[in-house]
């Protein structure tokens, strides 16, 4: 997993609530057996028409916005457990998703892939979306080490929460699998001492 400490970037606003994983990556694109290449179908049916032509009014096609940060409406990533959603966002070049609420499984999947789900309040989210829409050149600084989202144009630093273990993983590029495999002895001991086993 790639390491993450500080990211400075402009952002892409997507002010829609309850964006589900079927919008992020429709099921018909889940047939690949590798992790690569899902980015080209990110937001497929919002981004492209039936003939595969870009829809001019979609936020990723207008040419107005760019950057490695996606700022999206409340309850981002609801629906299916497909990790392909996190892969698609990452593969399309985003390193951070900012929203005021994330669905559980998506959040875990993002963290397992070095994609930071950054939760802010509804109020901050509304201000951020308005700011970016008004000035697409607005730069945001995501400082994971200090757990701060800096908006230089506001002269404001907004702190955010993240699980301490997950933060360490992101900063160092570690993942759970190494940790768990190292617990083998404890796991075997647990298995041999269970009062009821299946």
């Amino acid at each position: 997993m790639e390491k993450f400490e500080v990211l400075q970037s402009t952002a892409v606003p997507l002010p829609i609530e309850n964006i589900d994983t079927d919008q992020i990556i429709p099921a018909r694109f889940l047939k690949a057996t590798s992790r690569e290449g899902f980015g080209e179908n990110l937001f497929r049916d919002w981004r492209f028409d039936n003939a595969g032509q870009p829809k001019a009014d979609f936020v990723m096609n207008t040419g107005r916005y760019s950057g490695k940060i996606l700022v999206a409406g409340k309850n981002f990533g609801c629906g299916s457990s497909r990790e392909h959603a996190a892969w698609a966002i990452y593969d399309a070049g985003f390193k951070v998703v900012i929203s005021s609420f994330f669905a559980d499984i998506f959040k875990g999947n993002a963290l397992n892939n070095g994609l930071l789900p950054l939760q802010v309040s509804d109020e901050v989210l509304a201000r951020l979306l308005a700011q970016i829409e008004q000035d697409p050149q607005t730069t945001l600084v995501v400082n994971l080490v200090n757990q701060e989202l800096e908006v230089p144009v506001w002269e404001e630093k907004i702190s955010f929460e993240i699980d301490a273990y997950k933060k360490e993983c992101l900063i160092n590029g570690y993942d759970d699998i190494d940790f768990l495999v190292n617990q083998k002895e404890a796991i075997e001991q647990y298995e041999s001492n269970r009062p009821w086993a299946y």
């Binding site: 049916d45 609420f101 499984i105 397992n112 699998i177 404890a186």
Partner: protein, 464 residues
């Protein structure tokens, strides 16, 4: 301190707690399928890790399989490759696979319970969000991402923080025509699509207690549609009667020991939940959804709501525009082109029986295409034994072969753009059943009546 059902099962599966509040959490059963497992196999192979407990993994092919001519090679090359990859991976790692054509094949959440793989008190995971289904047996069951699939393959454990607990109590008798699906669609309409995010839900009260295991599975299945990673119902005599004699259920003396243990799995008097909600069963009507998330549901004869919070207005308008509906409008009389009866929510034998009972001696409306996809080979076999296949055929319904089918439209079973489909599945997201498709979620009973009438009707007048 009094413990909840969740506490009891959770605590029994903690290998160790690590500083910062995470638990190394043990998994009893791991179900895998063709779509979310290939990258996990690649990952453990790339790291040179062996499968830690392969005998605790069961595989099936369901998401991406055709529902016609399953005896022939899969036509679509990418789908065939993905299903072949599962077969190859299972053979290489010596994992039990109920693949396409196998007598035990089926939708993973139909297959596990009907074979007795799913048991009370277990922890069960699968790379699929509807793994919450198995909670109907009083198990901790939840969907995981592919990185976690690899973690379980490598260690039989996950690193998790214990979820918050919510109890949803529905007491009283339901009205005629109200099924398990209506109860859960009602609850989701009250909580919204993110209302239970971060929680595990325990369903309590007589409305759930009176349901069959099939009905309880329908309820727990849709827990994720309000954001809850899992839902559960304490095991009772209904659970034990369902499991007794199933292939992988304990037998003989072991069965008695199991029932004795399972009987301890309930929430103790006075145990505290992080959140408690109570509804009255008598308030629940046959339900239907009108929007593009499962929280956008209402009584079938109600009017589409006009009042929504300011912050949600843009998303709400976008949703209704996609569906071609207006705020304040009734759905009664709306013409429907497709009816889909299937998915891990409603494709069990009880669902098929209910449809057959209603359509017996009737015909579907000529303009409607009505497809029924059984949840498994076992369900299909039983339907044929009971003559349900003939009843459906005479009514003009097409009985297909098992799989996830038009619930997520990964295979060729798709609803065309702009068409309306009354579906017994679990998600009405934009394009879920095919690009541009418009889904209205409902119970198998509502779906059957809609197919016959060709339009949305107030079902209460059909119930005598």
């Amino acid at each position: 301190m009094a413990k909840t059902l969740l506490d009891k099962i959770w605590d029994a599966h903690v290998v160790k707690s690590i500083p910062g509040g995470l638990d190394v959490f043990y998994i009893d059963r791991h179900l895998i399928h063709e779509v979310t497992s290939p990258q996990a196999f690649d990952e453990i192979e790339a790291r040179g890790l062996p499968l830690f407990r392969k005998e605790q993994i069961v595989a099936t092919a369901d998401h991406n399989v055709p529902t016609k001519n399953q005896h022939l090679p899969i036509q679509e090359p990418l789908s065939r490759f993905q299903v072949d990859k599962l077969t190859e991976n299972c053979a290489k790692h010596n994992i039990e696979l109920y693949g396409l054509g196998h007598e035990k094949q089926g939708i993973v959440h139909v297959m596990g319970p009907e074979l007795g793989i799913t048991q009370p008190g277990m922890t069960i995971v699968c790379g699929d969000s509807h793994t919450s289904t198995h909670g109907a047996f009083g198990a901790i069951a939840f969907g995981i991402g592919t990185s976690q699939v690899a973690q379980v393959m490598a260690s039989q454990c996950l690193l998790l923080s214990k979820p918050k607990s919510m109890r949803i109590t529905v007491d009283g008798d339901v009205r005629p025509g109200v099924t398990a699906k209506d109860i859960i669609l009602y609850v989701i309409s009250k909580l919204g699509t993110g209302g239970a995010t971060g929680y595990f839900v325990e369903y309590a009260g007589s409305a759930f207690r009176n349901l069959s295991m099939e009905g309880r599975m329908t309820v727990c299945n849709m827990s994720i549609e309000m954001g809850a990673r899992g839902g559960m119902i304490a095991p009772d005599q209904t659970t034990f009667d369902y499991l007794n004699g199933r292939e992988f259920a304990p037998k003989g003396e072991r069965w008695d020991q199991a029932v004795a243990y399972w009987s301890t799995l309930f929430t103790e008097e006075g145990a505290a939940f992080d959140k408690e909600l109570t509804f009255d069963a008598a308030d629940i009507a046959p339900m239907i959804t009108f929007g593009t998330n499962p929280g956008m549901g209402m009584a079938i004869d109600a009017l589409i709501p006009t009042e929504v919070p300011v912050s949600e207005q843009a998303s709400y308008s976008k949703s209704l525009q996609y569906m071609g509906f207006q705020p304040g409008e009734s759905l009664l009389g709306k013409e429907i082109q497709y009816v889909f009866i299937g998915s891990c929510t409603n494709s069990r034998i009880e669902d098929l029986r209910q449809v057959a009972r209603f359509v017996q001696g009737k015909k579907k409306a000529p303009h409607v295409e009505a497809i029924i996809v059984p949840g498994s080979k076992q369900v299909e076999k039983q339907a044929i034994e009971e003559g349900i296949d003939k009843v459906l055929a005479e009514a003009g319904f097409e009985l297909r072969e098992p799989g996830c089918s038009a619930c997520l439209a990964m295979n060729e079973d798709k609803i065309p753009a702009g068409a309306y489909c009354v579906s017994t599945s679990n998600r009405n997201f934009e394009g879920r059943q095919g690009p541009g498709s418009r889904t209205l979620l409902a119970s198998p009973l509502v779906a059957a009546i809609t197919a016959v009438e060709g339009k949305i009707v107030d079902i209460t007048q059909y119930l005598n």
